[in-house]
């Protein structure tokens, strides 16, 4: 009985994987330009969901983390960003190292931001405008208003891939978060003498350290 269930699951996984791969191959060659309003909607959804999640006093930190992880995967091209952040070292990494890295990267982002959840003090989120560049990627400008504080302008970069519209970068005061991450990791891998496993150990230790602060 169990065995049959397991086989069924395998078959299902195969079918899903195959369809994703086929869709991926098609999407990759076309890379659909974004339609006006598409990216704006996505960013607005993310902002509203984040504000709702943060201002909900009943949620535990653990539940907030879980929701945030979900939102992150839903709205961001997380694997793409992770790959970009590792730069040239990504190609040198073997399969197992890549898998470990992608997992750690997600934990790293989730825990870095989770530390800030408790600081939420009624910030509001507002989409200002959206523009689409010549390559069909969208740039969405937003403003985050702290009560009694200066507003912060945040710019989101989105693109379509594999049928999903996702955020690939966030800019704050002219600073790209993806690019800054990449500089940090590049230096860290170099310090580790280019040894990917040593770097991953460092990253894992960092994640554990940030987690300790949150709890």
């Amino acid at each position: 009985m169990l065995r049959r269930k397991f086989l069924g699951l395998c078959a299902l996984t195969l079918v899903v994987t195959a369809s994703v791969t086929v869709r991926g191959a098609v999407a990759q060659s076309q890379n659909r330009p974004l339609l006006p309003g598409e990216a704006r909607k996505q960013v607005k959804f993310l902002g509203d969901a984040a504000v709702a999640m943060l201002s909900d006093q009943k949620l535990t930190q653990q539940e907030k983390n879980r929701r945030f992880r979900h939102l992150l995967n839903q709205s961001f091209a997380l694997r793409g960003i992770a790959r970009f952040a590792l730069g040239r070292y990504w190609r040198r990494a073997n399969f197992a190292q890549r898998r470990r890295y992608l997992k750690l990267f997600e934990d790293y982002i989730v825990n870095s931001y989770a530390a800030r959840f408790s600081n939420y003090s009624g910030e509001s989120f507002m989409v200002i405008n959206e523009s689409i560049d010549e390559r069909g990627r969208a740039i969405v400008k937003t403003r985050i208003q702290r009560p009694g504080g200066e507003p912060v302008e945040v710019i989101w970069y989105l693109r379509e891939r594999l049928g999903a519209v996702r955020i690939v970068d966030v800019m704050l005061e002219g600073i790209s978060l993806s690019l800054t991450q990449r500089s940090d990791f590049a230096a860290a891998v170099r310090t580790a003498g280019g040894d990917m496993d040593a770097f991953l150990d460092t990253l894992e230790a960092k994640v554990r350290k940030i987690k300790g602060v949150t709890k």
């Binding site: 970009f84 690939v168 005061e173 002219g174």
Partner: protein, 289 residues
Amino acid sequence: MRNKLAVREHFVTVRSSAKLALAGVITLAALTGCATPPPASDKEAMAAFKEDNDPLEPLNRYFFEFNRGIDHLLLRPVSEFYRGALPKGLRNSVRSVVNNLETPGIFVHDILQGEVERASDSFGRFTTNTFFGPAGLNDVAAGDNPKDPDAGIPFHGEDSGQTLAVWGADPGPYLMLPIYGPSNVRDTLGMAVNFYINPINYIVPTEHRSGFALARTVIKGIDTRSRTIETFDEIERGSIDFYATVRSLYRQYRASEIANGRGPMNPLPEMSEELEEDKGVERVSSIRK
């Protein structure tokens, strides 16, 4: 003549300590050495090395730790005290006065960069805040209105480093200056001449000129630090290599300041390539300045 006196005045005060510092720097450079470039055969590593543009990295890292020590012992506690002791309105006034005193210099830089509209913004801000502030105590020109943040003219900064960049000067190698913090060769040169560019320095008597400029720098430093305590803590906590992160932040921030916020629409032209799938060639960042 007055000018010459001012020059001497400015340097006499720092001369003896500068000599000492210089001797220290040379000794340190000899001890710590320069960053070792990767073998020329490794093209990617070479490209990354050039992108870092940080040949004095070991020395810079030394000063980075030195500055963190100073921050820990002095700047941060003073900034925390300042933030705790003064109400927000007063702190905003402090910032507003200092910004207002820098504005004539910013106006000169706007002109030197051929930015007519921004020059007129600076001129308008200075006259408005000086007369109606009054004396710059309130930034009335910015017209801070939470309902309509686009009303009014917000403050913008300019300095000699930015003007040199607009004129086409390369940033040169990255430098971590003791006390002053992250910089590069161009911005360091700019900092040295900036004192002579702000007309406001010439309205005070020669003997008080450098003290006046120094006081503004110190106050601005404390005020700025007091507004970035949590932000920097977070960056430090989140980064694996804090030095490299700060270097990247400084470069990007300066690039965006130089471009006056009109930077490239997409800062990561090469990112999409990497996001697609792995291509054979790695392109390094487009941001150089």
